[in-house]
Symmetry: C2
């Protein structure tokens, strides 16, 4: 029960949704599986009658949905970000199938801080920039002939896996020992690191290549603990 | 691969769907997971532009969908019927959660004959009469606060489980030994049995109670092999 109750710590974030009906269908799919924390980044139309109609008995989820101007703002306070994406990318975070990604999310929800599951726009999915903000990407197994799921159906499958896996666990053992860095703290860290690399002459503004992106990918994957981050920040300060 | 290819032996049957958009969304959900055998029983509106629009890249599934006047007709030739239902009933077939029901379906698709997964009307689900035509009922785990999924989302979860479980199996071992009775053959058997019970005076037309329904439930659960059925039919003939 403890673990099922913790499902509402999971933010479902929709980036730039264009069809209001999908927002309503997502709200219903979430509530069906015990989630109620919906976040919208730059929705084309919200609120709307169509979203209300398709939410059916989940209007309360729509009503308390939060709207943000940027994914950065939506991720503030979050310690672990999973992005739903089936696209192959050059510089991609670790990618897990849905079931395994959900197992990792379940492992995070007893820690101190929120967890987010991010979905891209209906037509194009997550942009490369949005994907890089994630600790992990996750893919739903599907037919090669037609792998593109409707967004509310993709949310339904993730929420179904979350509900099933959370139902199997009474409560997660072990103490929430380490304090993890939050999304915005890592953003500050990465920016400090970048400035430091420029100031020391290591990074030439005209020849940056993919250095900054590679480091972002590394540190999001590594899940920096606060103490580790403080050490590195102290080191950068010394270099200035 | 062999097992994934066999997914198109599974008929997805929608009983009395009332919203044409849902039919389109179901077609897409199916094709996303490698299924393409859609069957409609008394659809309120079909074909329709709304179904086409929501099917998106799955218009071929809509185009080859078959329409029937009754569930009996739709089930002709089928050897194993799973009904999607979350309702508690007095006289219910065995009920399994989605994942376990799908494991049983996967066990059936290498046998000689088709397999069906039946969904009820959007508002009320399967009727008691429709549920009794099933060998097994299956329920999707969901929140007690709001357990009612949109029909296309329920289809999506079943098809996702089918795809994932079929992907794990290269091909199912063992020979398809026993010849199972088909849906319409069992219908004939049950009707013969009923007449026999009336003719012998066992069953009084005015005091039938739930005897007929209980026997239907028993024999659908038992999955009669053809030889067994022939034995019993021979026995009934002797009694006439």
């Amino acid at each position: 029960m403890k673990c099922l109750g913790a499902l509402n710590k999971i933010k479902i974030i929709l980036c730039r949704p264009s069809h209001p009906g999908n927002i309503g269908s997502v709200a219903r799919a979430m509530k069906n599986m015990g989630l109620n924390n919906l976040v919208l980044v730059q929705p084309k139309t919200f609120p709307s009658d169509q979203a209300e109609a398709l939410a059916a008995g989940a209007n309360d989820v729509l009503k308390k949905a939060k709207v943000f101007d940027s994914l950065d703002a939506a991720l503030s306070g979050v310690i672990y970000v999973t992005g739903a994406s089936c696209r192959k990318r050059d510089l991609s975070p670790k990618t897990l199938i849905c079931k395994d990604a959900v197992a990792e999310i379940i492992g995070e929800i007893h820690k101190n801080g929120e967890v987010a599951l991010v979905f891209g726009n209906e037509r194009n999915g997550l942009t490369a920039e949005e994907a890089l903000k994630c600790n992990v990407l996750s893919d739903i197994p599907s037919s090669k002939d037609y792998p593109s799921l409707n967004i509310s159906h993709a949310v339904q499958i993730f929420c179904y896996e979350l509900f099933c896996q959370a139902s199997r666990i009474e409560s997660i053992g072990g103490s929430p020992n380490a304090e993890y860095s939050r999304y915005e703290e890592l953003g500050f860290f990465l920016e400090t690191f970048r400035q430091c690399m420029e100031n020391t002459g290591f990074l030439k503004p005209k020849h940056k290549g993919k250095v900054v992106e590679r480091l972002e990918r590394l540190f999001r994957r590594a899940r920096l603990e606060k103490e580790e981050m403080d050490i590195l920040l102290g080191f950068f300060k010394t270099l200035q």
